[in-house]
Amino acid sequence: MADRIKLDESLTRESLEAALRDEAVAAVEATWFARIAEIEGETGAARALREIAEQHQLNAKTTLDLLLRAREALTGRRAGTTAENAAALASFYENDAEAQAARAATARREGFADIGSWFESMGRLRAAHAGRLAALNQDGES
């Protein structure tokens, strides 16, 4: 029998990352489309889409839960405590603020001024959230 592959080094982990994105996107899409169906008076479609969205939300949470095990192995730190979770999110926000700025520049260069402005607004929010979580962690340590 072959050596057991570690989850953090596996293709399965990459699949989990992709699946989390897919489930989260599908949840948002189905919720959004359900609301449009409600406004358009398509009650049957609205109900079906909402119920599908609930499933996607649940699936996304479960996928994240499985993925956290791999991230624990990658970072060597236990995930799941509030301090750990907040630190992980803060780190994501800091990196993502830069990513948003790059996306904004691309959008503007390609002529999509409104989309560029949206990415810039998101980047500012990411920085604010990173600051808020950092303050939370400082409060927790003090």
Binding site: I39, G41, E42, T43, A113, D114, S117, W118, M122, A128
Partner: protein
Amino acid sequence: MSDTVPERGGRYDAGSIVVLAGLQAVRMRPAMYVGSTGAEGVMQLVVEVLQNALDEALVGHASRLDASVDDEGCWVIADNGRGIPLGNHPALGRPVAEVVVTELHAGGKFREGAYRLAGGLHGVGLTCVNALSSRFELEVRRDGERWLGRWAQGERVEAFHRVSAADDTGTTVRFVPDAAIFATARADFHEVEAWLRAQSWLTSGLTCSLARGAERVQFSSDEGLAGFARWLAGAEERVHPEPIAAAGTAGDVQVDAALLWTRAFAEDVQCFVNHVHTPLGGAHTDGLRAAVGHALTRYAREARLIDQNEPLQGGDTMEGLVAVLSVRMRDPRFEGQTKTRLLDPVAGAAVERAVGAALSAWMREHPAESAAIVGRAIEAGRARVASRRASERARYERVEHLVDKEIYRQQFGIRSKNWHASADWITNAGLLGLHGGSSQLGPDSVILDVCCGSGVVGNSFRGKVGKIIGLDLTPEMVALSRTRLDEVVQGDVYDIPFADASFDGVCNREVLHLLPQPERPLAEIFRVIKPGGQFVVGQWVPFSAIDGPWMFQVVKKKQPLFVNNLYDEDMRALLAGAGFVNVTTQEFLQWEDIDNWIDTWETPQLHRHQIRDLYHQCPAEVRAVHPFEISATGAIRDCWRWVIYSAFKHG
């Protein structure tokens, strides 16, 4: 209710468990019971007492509902119903009236038959009001006697006791919302007025009154929902003269509705379940939409107004519709304690059936008016397509092909017809005053109002400068502004048709967010200003990074041409980048009527709903930095942060 919050490092054992008595729990978590500790929460208290009085009218025992408020914020709400029963509760051995205002989940609404179709918070209403009031008094007139009890913050001050004889019957509640709980202890008088006015239309034979000092209003109507719909439509031009009535019963669900199409853009649909307003709609509202969409599509196909395979879109069929929907049913299920959204699908099916049948029958009997209603929906569809096109064309593909000017001309040409009525900010005197008031120009100077619209901004400099010239792209706006400004030229802000250094000053307001590459029009503005000249520009901006993305969504849904979400720092950077110096700012907070603001041609029906959803589902951290209000009747007012920038070109 128990709370399990051990201190850090402390012991956590059986002694740590705190059991709060009923009313303590309400005071500790007031928002859980009445929705919020802001103005909406205070309004909920008032509505709870009113709803309790109304329940007597709904079962045919009261014909009057009188409310008043004094200068100290003390509300007095009285009905002429039967009065809460006197005598002791058989199980608790205490006066029933005292039990009703001090025990959660006590009341007559739990027993079959007493209040078949009651509203209220299911037996926690009066108790919550008592718990959250600094002063609470209950007076009952029944069986020839008048009884009274007093409480403060839910604690008994004076036991419920007989005071005197009485020659009438009814219940009176006096209370003062507790300032220690609520950020503001005052309910909005006009919201209470709107609530009472609605109930007088919904409840046949009920007279409602409201007083504040010498101000007194009274409502009584036998016109029913049709009268309500006529009142909501107000002076709007109507597509058909009289409301369409719909009524029906399915099982336990009784449906009544009145529908009236107007030439307005936004819909105004007021929905009630057992006389409780449901601002977020729910199953019954969805049923109404479905009924309207299907009935109009069916009629349009039969009359060959549209192709057989072409449906009218649901949002388009609702455009301009004023409707009142009243559903009465046993034990409705709501989302949340404050009953903002109905969950029962059975109500949706009943509404769809009743309204669909009545509307289809009416359409067959009124072909000319029905064709006009369908024409309205087809028009709305075209506007929706144009809005999408505008959004797409506002994005430019090459720098030299910056914007499709025709889209701007089309939109502002249409909006010029009711420009000043289309938003409060346009003619707000305080805001305009800060523009003109920023002037440091001499009495003989010449100023250019760029993208001048109706010319109100330029006109705010009247008396401070010698001559005011306007520039606008839209011929209709040029004509409009010529009534205010000394001279107006049709032209493009990206290529201002004036020589370098032509003006002592330039002014502009709320335009840069609609212009791709705003640095280019700013360079043009800088070019036409003389050395030492002044530029005054007003722009709304987000309060912080926190509300910025939320504002982006609100504004983008309203205005497809919106391309720049400009923050204060962006404005400063743009001005500095153009070469302006000595930048100073003044801030102005302005409350905008959002329902009016989104009632415009360029905002499709779907987007109006999504904008309202953005307010109703606004994240808490956004609400913490960006004030707005949603009234009990669903009206939205948003506080906009305006910054007026004054900047100079080097001398």
